[in-house]
């Protein structure tokens, strides 16, 4: 074996661990769903565990890859080589390389089991508990009423939580499987109809965190998103109190017209949507709209909530979210006689803008 070959082998051995650094650099913690920017204890423990295993894997890759590289360089056939010795094995060696990986595995198994239990057992079972219900293709969030009267305060696609506090989350689904995932706060847990699941989350810093359904759930799976708004306890309490209040009857004539359309007439929105405070709007199929104008986004976190987008969403939901159930079920899209005019849409949007 000549020296230049030995040098090239050493070079390779030195290069391999360095290769691991761009590996991590290729992931950007700035990205809104990056798992590398953990802001809650659950996500942090998962990230720490990941780093631990990642470096163990890099170690194994460097050692095994280095030896493999060395073997292929060292033992390549040269012209006139005789047959090599026909060795059939080496028992101590084989026992050794059976035990070695087992030891590496013990190193990652212990923290794994500890983290599994930490992540699934709530540190504070009496803390705020929110019910998350999956629907095709949006998330329903149910809070306990601030008055403690046992009622639920219902909202959709925008989860407010108090910062720095443990929040318990019960998960269920109304239709197919979904998965609840906010990468910066916690790894996912599935929503299985009929099997209530549990997780806990906590945000250490105030801010908005993006989440997304992570279990394939049908046509609009890609557009089933939501946001978590972590805010101070006082802001959160104020928000919850506001959400718990029923909607006010509109005073503006256009909005009144919109309400009439919403609760009857051609649109019949009430049959799927709830507006607390309205005697008629008690539908359960679609998101609760009692305070829809307070939300930052509509269509399950797909577009910003503003007048123009609301218009487009009512006029042509398919253009925003293909497959949406509203387009499938609402007669205004299939029955030409009930198609909404521009004026109708304007009235509905005006009504929705009063729901705050």
């Amino acid at each position: 074996m000549n020296s230049s070959r030995r040098r090239s082998t050493r070079l390779w051995a030195a290069l391999l661990p360095i290769l691991a650094i761009p590996l991590l650099a290729a992931c950007y913690p700035d990205n809104p769903q990056s798992t590398f920017d953990a802001v809650g204890p659950v996500a942090k423990s998962q990230l720490n565990l990941f780093y631990w295993i990642f470096w163990a894997a890099v170690f194994v890759f460097v050692v095994v890859g280095g030896i493999l590289m060395w073997i292929t360089l060292r033992f390549r056939r040269k012209p006139g080589d005789p047959d090599p010795a026909q060795t059939h094995g080496n028992t101590p060696l084989e026992i050794g390389w059976t035990i070695a990986p087992a030891l590496v595995l013990v190193v990652i198994a212990v923290p794994t089991v500890l983290t599994i239990f930490d992540n699934l057992n709530s540190p504070d079972p009496d803390a705020l508990t929110i019910d998350v219900v999956g629907h095709q293709w949006w998330f329903e969030f149910r809070y306990p009423h601030p008055d403690g009267n046992g009622d639920a305060v219902v909202t959709a696609n925008e989860l407010h939580i108090p910062v720095g506090e443990v929040v318990n989350v019960n998960l269920d689904s109304k239709d197919v499987l979904h998965s609840f995932w906010i990468p910066k706060l916690a790894g996912k847990v599935d929503l299985v109809p009929g099997n209530e699941n549990f997780m806990w989350i906590q945000a250490d810093e105030p801010g908005e965190y993006l989440g997304q359904c992570a279990e394939f759930c049908g046509e609009a799976h890609a557009l089933m998103k939501f946001r978590v708004v972590a805010e101070s306890r006082s802001e959160f309490d104020a928000w919850l109190t506001a959400e718990a209040a029923p909607a006010q009857d509109p005073v503006d004539p256009l909005a009144q017209q919109g309400k009439a359309l919403f609760e009857g007439g051609k649109a019949q929105c009430w049959s799927c949507h709830t507006v607390a405070g309205s005697s008629k709007s008690r539908g359960q199929t679609g998101p609760d709209l009692t305070h829809v104008w307070n939300r930052g986004h509509i269509a399950a976190g797909v577009i910003e909530n503003n007048q123009r987008n609301l218009r487009q969403w009512i006029e042509d939901p398919q253009s925003i979210k293909q497959g949406t159930i509203m387009f499938r079920d609402a007669k205004i899209y299939s029955d030409p006689e009930r198609k909404l005019t521009d004026a109708d849409v304007a009235a509905l949007v005006a009504y929705l803008q009063t729901l705050k």
């Binding site: 894997a57 033992f75 499987l177 009929g194 394939f216 046509e219 293909q322």
Partner: protein, 618 residues
């Protein structure tokens, strides 16, 4: 000799041309049929993948609708797993196993033909759904309840389920056949612990198939009963638990993963000793680790379900069993390295692919260990990180090994060598573009991109690596095109191959290339592992007997005769399964009944048909 008065129509004697292929029961021809069909299916699955990568190349593209995208990923995975990798494995089982154990055919040649034609029927049922009735759209895993009639009223799921049932029959028949063949038809002296590694891995794979497929069969029956007859297996409103499907699916599905990878490991375990000129290092340990992998494959299924809420105890147990399975896998890699150590390694194309397999499989194995850690897996489950992992083990693992096997055994099949220069170009193209395609998926997965989404918007920061992956995918397609060109070109005018072009170690290299119809003019006697190497080096005077035409010898060898009953039985299954999808219409029901009747009649007639016609015997 028979007193039965069943009117058996006259039997094909020495058919030629297309009819010859249809009625063939020669394991070599069936192997070729499997290989060619599986490769065509591989191309269709690849095109489906390219379509998806085109859609995902840029953010917010609208090349395909979400509905079509869902069909694409469902079809891509189902095709690659059931119609490409599994039957490619079957192609090698068919062609190579009898040669490696010194047999003239498999134990049940007609059952073997039936397996192939039934596989083809199942493949057609699935693929034709693109044109009639719509392709399945619920993922290859088909998680309940989205496959239920309420959420999926079209026929796509019916085609998917029927196709998998038919493919299951084909796989089971083949697995029974190979178990019996390997256990019962070994040449004298070839004890179990003298069998070549590929034969060993085939035997383990066959056992896995026999035990795993009935589970998915039951799951699919339950799904079909729900859809057809309004039963309640997966209806949550009636108290059903959708997780039952996941348990049944993965109790099948995880052994299935080893069904895909063990034959690949077998192929690599043949190539590395040959091109290192050394026997496999620690043969008993490699065999044992294969068996341990096959056994432990039954104890890890819930690692696919870490996020469904099984609780911390179950998650911990399955995390530990999954980590444990890394030990026998690691042992295999170390033994391959031990084989090369001190060897005389020649870097011919098959060896390059085998080495590529080891490198990519190490990466896929390490990311697999990352997934085994249930807590950290909660961030990776159902993201592109998993997509990267499965492609490192299924493309980097299985496909690389199958390509290696093709380059390795091509001379034995065709009598011609594959072009070495093109082969090397082929290898580097595949190896590099494979990494360009799949490595970035690790990054976007950890950056929070879920799987199975048909579009993403720019604000998420996934644009760049998605574009890279898409470019890689098209480069990979080009690499496969180079492979096709090499195969076709070499088959037509490649250099003529000798009987033993690689200085091989196992019995298949002791007979002429291409393999004569009767395989072995004289059944060899085996005295150890690597019997042919021993013969050559110790100058034991057995060597390939009939070097030339072998006509004289062939005359005295009884080969099973062709038959058209297996083919007809498969046609019946195809028609029957296709008809049953439309069971609600008179035509569909009639076709279903007639098809199954044809199968029953054919199987009945087949059981009366002697292996050889008495009149044909000498």
């Amino acid at each position: 000799m028979t007193t039965l008065s069943i009117p058996v129509p006259s039997r094909p004697v020495h058919p030629t041309g297309v009819w010859g292929w249809i009625t063939t029961i020669d394991h070599k021809r069936i192997g070729i049929l499997y290989g060619v069909t599986a490769f065509i299916m591989f191309i269709t699955g690849g095109l489906e993948a390219l379509y998806m990568r085109a859609q995902l190349a840029r953010p917010d593209q609208e090349l395909v609708s979400p509905e079509v995208f869902n069909q694409l990923f469902t079809m891509h995975a189902t095709t690659m797993i059931f119609l490409a990798i599994m039957p490619m494995g079957a192609a090698f089982f068919n062609y190579i196993i009898p040669l490696q154990i010194g047999a003239r055919d498999v134990a049940f040649p007609r059952l073997n033909a039936f397996s192939y034609w039934t596989f083809l029927g199942g493949a057609l049922i699935l693929k034709l759904s693109w044109f009639f009735g719509g392709a399945p759209n619920a993922g290859w895993f088909g998680y309940a309840p989205i496959t239920g009639i309420q959420y999926n009223p079209g026929h796509g799921i019916d085609f998917w389920a029927m196709s998998l049932q038919v493919l299951g029959i084909a796989s089971l028949a083949a697995a029974f056949n190979f178990i019996v063949t390997i256990i019962n038809m070994r040449a004298p002296g070839m004890s179990l612990m003298r069998m070549p590694l590929f034969t060993w891995m085939t035997l383990i794979t066959s056992f896995l198939l026999v035990l795993a497929f009935p589970v998915i069969t039951v799951a699919l029956i339950e799904l079909m009963f729900d859809r057809f007859f309004g039963m309640n297996f997966f209806v949550p409103a009636k108290g059903a638990n959708p997780l039952l499907w996941q348990h049944l699916f993965w109790i099948f599905g995880h052994p299935e993963v080893y069904i895909l990878i063990l034959p690949a490991m077998g192929i690599v375990s043949e190539i590395i000793p040959t091109f290192s000129k050394k026997p496999l290092f620690g043969y008993p340990v490699v065999v044992l680790s294969g068996a341990v992998i096959g056994f432990m494959g039954w104890m890890v299924w819930s690692h696919h379900m870490f996020t469904v809420g099984l609780g911390p105890v179950a998650n911990s147990v399955f995390a530990l069993t999954t980590m444990a399975i890394a030990v026998p896998t690691g042992v295999k890699i170390f033994n391959w390295m031990g084989t090369m150590w001190g060897g005389s390694i020649s870097f011919k194309t098959p060896m390059l692919f085998a080495l590529g397999f080891i490198w990519l499989f190490i990466i896929g194995g390490l990311s697999g260990v990352m997934h085994s850690s249930a807590a950290s897996d909660a961030q990776q489950q159902d993201t592109y990180f998993v997509v990267a992992h499965i492609h490192y083990v299924l493309f980097g693992g299985s496909i690389m090994a199958l390509l290696a096997g093709t380059y390795y055994w091509f001379p034995k099949v065709t009598g011609r060598m594959m072009n070495e220069t093109l082969g090397k170009i082929n290898f580097w193209l595949v190896f590099i573009s494979m990494n360009i395609t799949f490595f970035p998926m690790h990054f976007i997965g950890l950056d929070g991109m879920p799987r199975r989404i048909y579009r993403y918007s720019s604000e998420y920061g996934w644009d760049f690596w998605n574009l890279v992956a898409s470019i890689g995918a098209f480069a990979l397609a080009f690499a496969i095109l180079v492979f096709m060109i090499n195969v076709i070109r070499s088959a037509m005018k490649g250099e003529k191959a000798s009987a033993d072009p690689w200085d091989g170690r196992t019995l298949e290299w002791s007979i002429p290339s291409p393999t004569p119809e009767y395989n072995f003019a004289q059944i060899p006697t085996v005295r150890g592992i690597d019997p042919f190497w021993a013969q050559k080096r110790e100058r034991v005077p057995v060597a390939p007997v009939a070097g030339g035409s072998g006509e004289d010898d062939a005359h005295s060898i009884h080969l099973p005769q062709p038959s058209y009953w297996p083919f007809l039985a498969s046609i019946g299954l195809f028609i029957g399964a296709y008809g049953l999808v439309y069971y609600q219409s008179i035509v569909g029901m009639t076709a279903g009944i007639l098809g199954l009747a044809l199968t029953i009649v054919s199987v009945y007639a087949w059981s009366f048909e002697p292996v050889n016609d008495p009149e044909e015997e000498h």
